[in-house]
Structures are given as structure tokens and as C-alpha cells.
């Protein structure tokens, strides 16, 4: 009885506040989608750099990955939002003076992208490393250049192997995106929090928000498991 009553109360909160909650839901999805797209590009570049023939590229990309994976996302978000504007403005020729001031949303996208990029880079690198060296040698022997070999022979196979890992990284990004509320972005969690601070329907509102988060993360968790089995079978 108590549980049914709770569900009724939660539904009532959703009915009363759905514009704000759905707006937060959209912000969470949009932030995650943009950051994931950028993190994939960044991760691909970094993964290629980490497995490059040139040592300085490997060292630079490796430092980026270790630095961003081993410090909390919260500290990184604080840095982009609170510390960056304190840096001296940059005088660029022709373009004028550049101030390091970011809006909450810009700092959120930057922070999520750089943090997640370190993880996508590692996922793609593990894919790259699982491709047999014989393939690269064969491609080079056939006359493909270094870049052609990497882009047309190795990369497509590596991506396929990395897909399950990338899926769980996307799920983690949905969860991590909840942190942007600390720098003032009104995402799903912040929307629910604002409403519960005014009407004290704490369990109901966070319950609704939790179900909305699960609607994004659970399908990805299941997809990741299924894809993993498929990749394992295909190999």
C-alpha cells in the first residue's frame, strides 16, 4: 500500500513538474551526445598518437590520458569553470584579445569531453593493439602508406572491437553528466533538486529522476553486454 501510494505521489510530481523535468532530461541527453561525439574524435586522435611510431607523440598522448583519468571529474570541471577565467588573457594577432571565460554549458562540454576522451582513447587503443601486426606488415608490403594502413586497414577493425567498451563509456558519461549541476548547468538532477528544495517531495522527485536516468543507462548496459558476446563470437 505504501509503495503504491509512493508511485502515485511520484506520478503526481511528474504531472506537476514535467516541463522542468523534461527540460533537464533534454539537457542531460544533449550534453552527453555532444560530449560523446567530441570525445570519440579526440579519443581516435589520441589512440592513433599513443600507438604512433614517434616517441614524443606517444609520451604526450600518454600523459594526457593518465592525467585526465587519474584526477576527479569534479576537480576538472572546477578548473574549467573557476580557474580558467583567472588565466591572463591571450593577445592573438588579428583576432584580438581572448579571455578564458566559459559559460557553465561550455565548461561542462569541455570538462566532459576531455575526461571522457581519455577513456575513449584507451578503449580504441586496446582495439588497435588487438589487431595482429601481420596485417600492418602485409598492408605496407602491398604498398599502402603508414597513414593509409592505419586508417583503412587497422582502424575499422579496431573500432569494431572497441564498440562494447565505448557503449559502457557512453553509459558512464550519462551518469557523469550529473556532475555538471555543481557548476550551474540545470540538467536532470539539478532540475529535480530545485523542485525538491521547494516542495520537500525528496524521494518522489529523485525517484522520478532516477527512473529517467535508468531509461538512458540501462539499455546501454544491456547493449554493451550483448555486443561484447557478439564481438567475442566473431573473433
Amino acid at each position: 500500500m505504501g509503495f503504491i501510494g509512493f508511485l502515485g505521489d511520484a506520478a503526481e510530481q511528474l504531472r506537476l513538474h514535467y516541463p522542468a523535468l523534461l527540460h533537464g532530461y533534454q539537457v542531460t541527453i544533449l550534453l552527453t551526445a555532444v560530449s560523446m561525439a567530441l570525445a570519440l574524435v579526440l579519443g581516435a586522435v589520441v589512440a592513433l598518437a599513443r600507438t604512433a611510431e614517434w616517441r614524443w607523440l606517444r609520451v604526450a598522448s600518454g600523459s594526457y590520458v593518465e592525467l585526465f583519468r587519474n584526477t576527479p571529474l569534479l576537480i576538472q570541471l572546477y578548473f574549467w569553470f573557476f580557474a580558467l577565467p583567472k588565466l591572463p588573457p591571450l593577445d592573438l594577432p588579428y583576432l584580438g584579445t581572448f579571455h578564458w571565460l566559459l559559460s557553465s554549458e561550455q565548461a561542462a562540454v569541455l570538462g566532459l569531453t576531455l575526461y571522457t576522451g581519455a577513456y575513449t582513447a584507451e578503449a580504441l587503443r586496446s582495439g588497435l593493439r588487438s589487431i595482429d601486426a601481420g596485417q600492418t606488415e602485409a598492408a605496407r608490403a602491398v604498398g599502402l602508406t603508414y597513414m593509409q594502413t592505419r586508417l583503412y586497414v587497422v582502424a575499422p577493425q579496431a573500432i569494431r572491437i572497441a564498440v562494447p567498451l565505448l557503449t559502457s563509456i557512453l553509459s558512464a558519461l550519462f551518469r557523469n553528466s550529473a556532475l555538471v549541476s555543481v557548476i550551474g548547468v540545470i540538467d536532470l538532477l539539478a532540475a529535480a533538486d530545485r523542485i525538491q528544495q521547494s516542495n520537500f517531495q525528496t524521494f518522489e522527485l529523485f525517484g522520478v529522476a532516477g527512473v529517467l536516468y535508468l531509461s538512458l543507462t540501462l539499455p546501454l548496459a544491456w547493449a554493451s553486454g550483448g555486443l561484447e558476446r557478439r564481438v567475442a563470437r566473431a573473433r
Binding site: 576527479p72 578548473f79 557523469n176 532516477g210 548496459a221
Partner: protein
């Protein structure tokens, strides 16, 4: 931008012992929260992993719901839920306890999956082989199966400990004076106003233990014992030809 914003105390506060003391206290609290949560997560994780592998549905399904739900929830939501939620009930939970509970809910679900994968990774052949050698069921479990499983779980548990340690920074939203909050307290002080310097120092204070743990995880992942176990396992699982002796 006005010049006032540009003026900060810079690195000057770090010449004072009190500032370092304040930050180290925060680091110790973060490490304590991570350690306690990890111990609790291991306990809950073992129970959940064994429950998920049990045959009766009445045991298996609740464990599955627990693991799948808490693994898929944002940690910050769990912290809010436990802390602000408990404030609406007669039992008032303090902020540190609330964070430890929330960290444990999330991490025990992840650890349960690591343990389950470790148990599932032991091939039947290894146990059969040890039984064939004359060990009792209990002996083959305690001396063969469990040591192999533990060693396989070790890298996963260590990397989860890194995540957990980084996640203690979320406690700062409840104004707990752990490392991240301490950093904010310092650079929000009007006479300091030096977030670049403070956040750089604090990032290093998070980085050093995390990176040390990640090196440990790598070593556990690729250690000689693990390679030997993998070789032994595949040898028993399939009818493998006698391994060629490698020059070492």
C-alpha cells in the same frame, strides 16, 4: 574583465604549513571514505555475486535488480537521495555517513560484477583436475579455485578503488571538508582567490595515489602469475599440445 579578478594570492599560501595541513586533512578524509566504502562494497559485493549465481529465482532476481539499478545510477543522485531523503525520515544520517552509504551502494554493485566474473572465469577443468589429483571439494575450492578467482579479480578491484577514490570528491556537494571542498574553501577566500594554483596542487594530490594504484592494477593484470594461470587454464580447458619450452 576588471583587474580585481586577476589579482590572486598565487602560490604564496603554499609557503605556509597551515594550508598544507588543511589540504592533507582533506586528503586523509577522502582516503578514509574510500577505504571504508571499499571494505563495505566487498562484503556486499560478495553476497550479491553469490546471490546472482544462485539457482533459486527468489534469491537471484533481487540481487540482479540491486546490481543493475545501482550500477546504472549517477552517484550524485544516490548521494542526494540518501542525504536529503534521510532528512525527511526520523533517522537523520550525517553527511559523511550518507556519502559512505551512497558510495557503497554504487560500488558494491560494480564490485559484485567483478567478483561474479572472477568466479565464472574459473573453468570446470581446473576444479576437475584438482579433484582428480586427490583434493577434496573444499580443498580444491580453497587452494585452487578461490586463489585463481581472487587473482583475476585483483586488477578490477584496484581500478575500481581508483574510481572510488576520485568519486569521494562528490562529497564536497554536502560541504564535507574533504580534499575538493578544502580546495574550494581556500580559493574562495577573498584574500586568496587563486583557483589555478590551488586546483593544480589538489589535482596532483588526487593524481599521485590514483596513478600509483593504476600502475599496481597494470602490474596485476600482466603479472607473471597471471600469465601462468591463463596458460594452465587453457591447457586444461582444451586438449592442448605440450607447451614448447621457451628460452627464457
Amino acid at each position: 574583465m576588471s583587474d580585481i579578478l586577476m589579482v590572486g594570492a598565487g602560490w604564496e599560501p603554499f609557503t605556509r604549513w597551515a594550508i598544507w595541513r588543511f589540504l592533507f586533512d582533506g586528503l586523509v578524509l577522502a582516503l578514509e571514505m574510500a577505504a571504508i566504502s571499499m571494505l563495505l562494497s566487498m562484503l556486499v559485493g560478495v553476497v550479491m555475486a553469490v546471490a546472482r549465481l544462485a539457482r533459486p529465482r527468489i534469491i537471484r532476481w533481487p540481487a540482479m535488480v540491486y546490481v543493475e539499478t545501482f550500477r546504472a545510477m549517477p552517484l550524485l543522485l544516490l548521494i542526494f537521495f540518501v542525504f536529503f531523503g534521510s532528512a525527511r525520515t526520523p533517522l537523520k544520517i550525517g553527511p559523511v555517513t550518507a556519502v559512505v552509504i551512497a558510495l557503497t551502494l554504487y560500488n558494491s554493485a560494480v564490485v559484485a560484477e567483478i567478483i561474479r566474473a572472477g568466479i565464472l572465469s574459473i573453468s570446470r577443468g581446473v576444479i576437475e583436475a584438482s579433484r582428480a589429483l586427490g583434493l577434496s571439494y573444499l580443498q580444491s575450492m580453497t587452494y585452487v579455485a578461490i586463489p585463481i578467482a581472487l587473482r583475476r579479480m585483483a586488477p578490477g578491484v584496484v581500478s575500481q578503488l581508483i574510481t572510488l577514490f576520485k568519486d569521494t570528491s562528490l562529497a564536497s556537494v554536502l560541504s564535507i571538508l574533504e580534499l575538493s571542498r578544502s580546495a574550494r574553501v581556500i580559493y574562495d577566500t577573498p584574500t586568496y582567490g587563486n583557483p589555478v594554483e590551488v586546483l593544480t596542487v589538489v589535482a596532483a594530490m588526487y593524481f599521485i595515489p590514483s596513478y600509483a594504484l593504476s600502475l599496481l592494477a597494470q602490474r596485476l593484470e600482466a603479472g607473471p602469475e597471471r600469465r601462468a594461470i591463463l596458460a594452465a587454464d587453457t591447457a586444461t580447458a582444451t586438449i592442448a599440445p605440450a607447451p614448447a619450452s621457451r628460452p627464457e
